[in-house]
Amino acid sequence: MPKCCHYGFLLICLLLAWSSLAEPLTITVLNQQGEPFPGAVVELKHPDLTPASPPAPAVMDQVNKQFKPHVLAVQQGAHVTFPNSDSIKHHVYSFSKPKRFQLKLYKDQQPDPLVFDKPGIVALGCNVHDWMVGYIYVAESAAFRRTDDQGKASFDVKPESYEVVVWHPRFREQDKQRSQRTSIGQTTLVFQLQEALYPMINDQADEFDEY
């Protein structure tokens, strides 16, 4: 997907925000110790936030026997392609409810993209390589993003009351299921984890490959 499209989308959002609001809504995710937690998926839910435009397609690559990215957030209905950048076979599968599938992936063979049309978490595994774990967060709202290095995610949205959902595979169940609601006109929300994180799987850095 060309980068200009992103910028264009962003520009539209900003314009929308500026046109109606004075300030954007910023969610700060902190871990149990109060340190900023980067990479968490933050989704704002509101009936108005149904996507107007078709969702952007996404890619879940397999590089060096790891899913890349480790966590992928897409909008409901998005097409995700599963290329194989390794020179070996992978057998990607998921038994998660939103999307059960399996793909036998060969080098240089590009299967058709899969449509993730149900919101939820799709855990990805590779039947050949047990250590390979990846996640696709299928957001039902158009407003979702991942926290930056400061653990912040900012949304230019109308001043409404939003349900804020924060997710990351290292979160414990309680934190995963916890949502918070903002009041109208609230510009900041701090989401602090109440439980310790699961340890990191392998050496996998939860890097922001394309942001």
């Binding site: 059960r100 047990d130 250590w131």
Partner: protein, 773 residues
């Protein structure tokens, strides 16, 4: 010997047996006990080991199941089917049947991540999968069967922390606990659930095993199973919170303790053999010890019965043989001593002649064997032999007796048998006598004393008296004939004949003499004695100053008995002490009475030589004086001169004691004894009584007058006062006055009188009465 007393043999036997039985019982009980403990601890250990092996096996079975479950849980297809289990249960069931078969399990279940059952081969269960995901042995009872159950997590993504599903399978324990387990552990294994028997390697009735549930955990215990003693051991495979399933190992006691029972049996047999052997051995030993003792006891009995001549056997054992030798020595010395005793008993050591016993024995023998044949006993006694002894000495007397014995022996007449039967008394048995020969024979014996005896160069004329008695004329027993001869002898002494033949007239007198001795004590007790009082007159003042107390015996049969007759008898029999005591007691009582009647007199009491050595006399005198309130100085004790001089040293001691008590002492019958002047001056006496022999005829005899005068001089020179006895006429009294004799006593003044008469006499007499003290 006391028959009830246990024999030595029995004691030895008992002792050995007791020791042996004690030792064996101790040894066997400790051995058996330690063997039992060893067996027990071995068994206990074996149970522990078997439990560990058993549990290891179950653990292992569980591990196998777990492994199988885990690999199934990782199977992609299975995961896929579990993930779509709700939409496609048939496919899931099919794959699980397959997995269950692979795992050799008997049922299987699948749960989703929330613990909801997705699939179950059982119709109804309430299992929660987490509990069985453990390394421990997890057992559960389902529909009456016990299952070993394992579960495992299913993760769709292996790296994911969250659990997506559970896989659970169970194996029926009957497949795992079978014959092979019994062989492996060596015990029958029963599986118990709660109180219920589930199954076992050996089929059992449920009811019989109900009590298994009461067994303590991991402790072996003896129980009855099927009427058989068994050792049982119960344990749990799992913590009780998970299950109530337990296991029981059991084994028949006799198999469990096989070695122990064998050992006990062997020991018992050995002990019985040992005890039997010991009993036999101790029997043999005790017999060895006691047999010689029995033999020696027999010997001792023989010796007791007087057989000193049998040989005494030898024995092997040194100790016993020593005892035997000692017996021999004892037998020899008894023999020797008997001979010596015989010699002493039947022979006189001085003259070598047979003694009195021997003579009597001879007489008895003669009477028993002589068929009434007549024989005579001639008894002879030396005249004044005591004087010979006293004057020339006992040694001299002994020599004389030897010579006499020899002289009698030299005269071998008519088979005569001689014996020395007393101090100076010899007896001669004359056999086969007729009257005529007898007289001549007796005369020959009397003539033996015609010639003097020569002892140590001194020629001594000795006279002897002879008494003759004839058997059976005078008596028909040995003692009787001896007594008759004795009586004749005394008669002879009295009458100064050469010899006297016994006459039955003598007898009454002699019997009386003998009786008197025994009757005297009775007389004292029965108050047959009386005291007579003869006054003494003070010649200077004509006062009656004292009385001599004279004892009189009025015998109920014999009438009046002369003191000269019974006092020597009393001295011989020892009754003199009681007599003297009686006299003192009676005299003082009388004195007390008279003092109350205003008659104050000195009382003189005669005491004998025997009383002098009676140490209790002073105490008795003192006690009686006090009792009757009589002052000591009112009592005079008179002792004859001969009594004093027979043992002067003892007499001095005794008199000293009495004198210190303040009692006046007087020498009686002075002039008839043989007073040593040396002793006389030492005697603590204050008075001499001149013997009446010198006073009776004083008026007519110049000799007596001289004797009296010199005696009075002697007495006065020794500081003693003088009493003259036997004053029978006034002339004599005048002479006595002239010689300054202090006191006089005699018929001229007054006869001895009884108390009443004396009292009357005192009131009538012209003599002055002593002034009241």
């Amino acid at each position: 010997m006391n028959i009830k007393r246990a024999s030595l043999q029995q004691k030895i036997l008992l002792f050995f047996s007791l020791i042996l039985v004690t030792i064996t019982v101790l040894v066997s009980s400790t051995t058996l006990q330690s063997a039992y403990q060893h067996s027990n601890s071995q068994l206990s250990q074996s149970f522990d080991t078997a439990r560990q092996v058993f549990l290891y096996k179950l653990q292992n079975d569980g591990n196998v199941l777990s492994g199988s479950l885990r690999s199934a849980a990782k199977d992609f297809n299975t995961k896929q089917l579990i993930a779509s289990g709700k939409e496609d249960p048939e496919s899931l069931a099919a794959v699980l049947v397959n997995q269950q078969r692979r795992s050799n399990a008997d049922f299987s279940m699948v749960f989703d991540g929330e613990g909801q059952v997705i699939y179950s081969s059982l119709t109804e269960t309430e299992l929660t999968p987490e509990a069985f995901n453990s390394d421990a042995i997890r057992l559960s009872v389902i529909d009456g069967d016990v299952y070993l159950i394992k579960s495992t997590e299913v993760k769709f993504l292996e790296q994911q922390p969250q659990v997506d599903a559970w896989l659970l399978m169970g194996i029926n324990l009957q497949k795992l606990v079978d014959e092979s387990v019994q062989q492996l552990t060596g015990y029958e294994v029963s599986v118990i659930s709660g109180d219920n028997y589930v199954f076992g390697t050996t089929n059992r009735e449920t009811a019989e095993l109900a009590n298994f549930s009461l067994l303590p955990n991991a402790t072996m215990i003896e129980v009855d199973i099927n009427q058989q003693a068994q050792i049982a051991y119960r344990f749990f495979a799992d913590e009780k919170e998970y299950t109530d399933v337990s296991f029981v190992f059991s084994i028949a006691s006799e198999s469990a303790f096989l070695n122990f029972f064998q050992l006990a049996f062997q020991l018992s047999v050995e002990l019985i053999i040992a005890i039997a052997g010991a009993v036999l051995l101790s029997l043999y030993l005790s017999n060895n010890i006691t047999k010689p003792l029995r033999v020696l006891a027999g010997v001792a009995k023989r010796i007791q019965q007087g057989d000193y001549h049998s040989p005494i056997p030898d024995f092997d054992a040194a100790e016993v043989n020593n005892l035997s030798k000692t017996f021999e020595g004892m037998q020899d010395s008894i023999q020797a001593r008997e001979a010596e005793i015989n010699q002493l008993a039947y022979y006189d050591t001085l003259t070598g002649l047979p003694n009195r016993n021997s003579f009597i024995k001879q007489l008895k023998h003669k009477i028993e064997t002589g068929n009434g044949e007549s024989f005579a006993v001639l008894m002879l006694d030396l005249d004044r032999f005591k004087e010979v002894n006293d004057t020339i000495g006992h040694n001299f007397g002994d020599q004389l007796l030897k010579l006499i014995g020899r002289r009698i022996e030299s005269l071998k007449l008519a088979d005569a048998f001689y014996a020395r039967v007393g101090g100076d008394e010899f007896a001669i048995l004359l056999n086969d006598v007729n009257e005529r020969d007898l007289i001549s024979m007796v005369k020959q014996y009397t003539h033996l004393f015609d010639l003097p005896f020569e002892v140590e160069g001194i020629h001594l004329d000795v006279d002897a008296s002879f008494g003759l008695a004839v058997y059976p004329e005078h008596a028909d027993s040995a003692y009787g004939i001896m007594q008759c001869a004795d009586i004749a002898l005394y008669k002879c002494k009295e009458t100064h004949h050469n010899y006297i033949r016994y006459n039955s007239e003598f007898n009454t007198l002699s019997i009386q003499r003998l009786n008197l001795m025994s009757e005297l004590r009775l007389a004292i007790e029965q108050d047959q004695l009386r005291l007579f009082y003869q006054p003494k007159l003070c010649l200077k003042t004509d006062e009656v100053v004292s009385v001599e107390c004279l004892v009189r015996w009025v015998h109920p049969e014999h009438g009046f008995i002369n003191p000269d007759e019974f006092i020597p008898l009393a001295e011989q029999s020892g009754a003199i002490r009681q007599l003297t005591h009686w006299v003192i007691r009676t005299a003082l009582k009388q004195q007390q009475q008279w003092q109350q009647q205003d008659i104050n007199l000195q009382f003189a009491v005669n005491i004998s030589a025997v009383d002098l050595v009676d140490l209790s006399l002073p105490a008795y005198v003192s006690e009686q004086l006090t009792l009757h309130h009589v002052d000591n100085r009112y009592l005079t004790l008179e002792v004859t001169e001969s009594a004093l001089m027979s043992d002067p040293d003892a007499a001095i001691k005794a008199l000293d004691m009495l004198q210190r008590m303040g009692i006046k002492l007087s020498i009686d019958d002075f002039g008839t004894g043989y007073s040593s002047m040396a002793y006389l001056k030492q005697m603590p006496v204050s008075e001499l009584k001149i013997d009446k022999a010198f006073v009776l005829d004083l008026a007519n005899s110049d000799d007596d007058e001289k004797i009296v005068k010199s005696t009075v001089d002697l007495a006065h020179n020794l500081g003693l006062s003088v009493v003259a006895e036997g004053v029978e006429d006034e002339a004599s009294l005048e002479i006595l006055k002239r010689y300054d004799v202090e006191f006089a006593q005699g018929y001229f003044i007054a006869r001895p009188m009884n108390a009443e008469d004396f009292f009357d006499w005192m009131s009538q007499t012209n003599y002055r009465k002593i002034a009241n003290a």
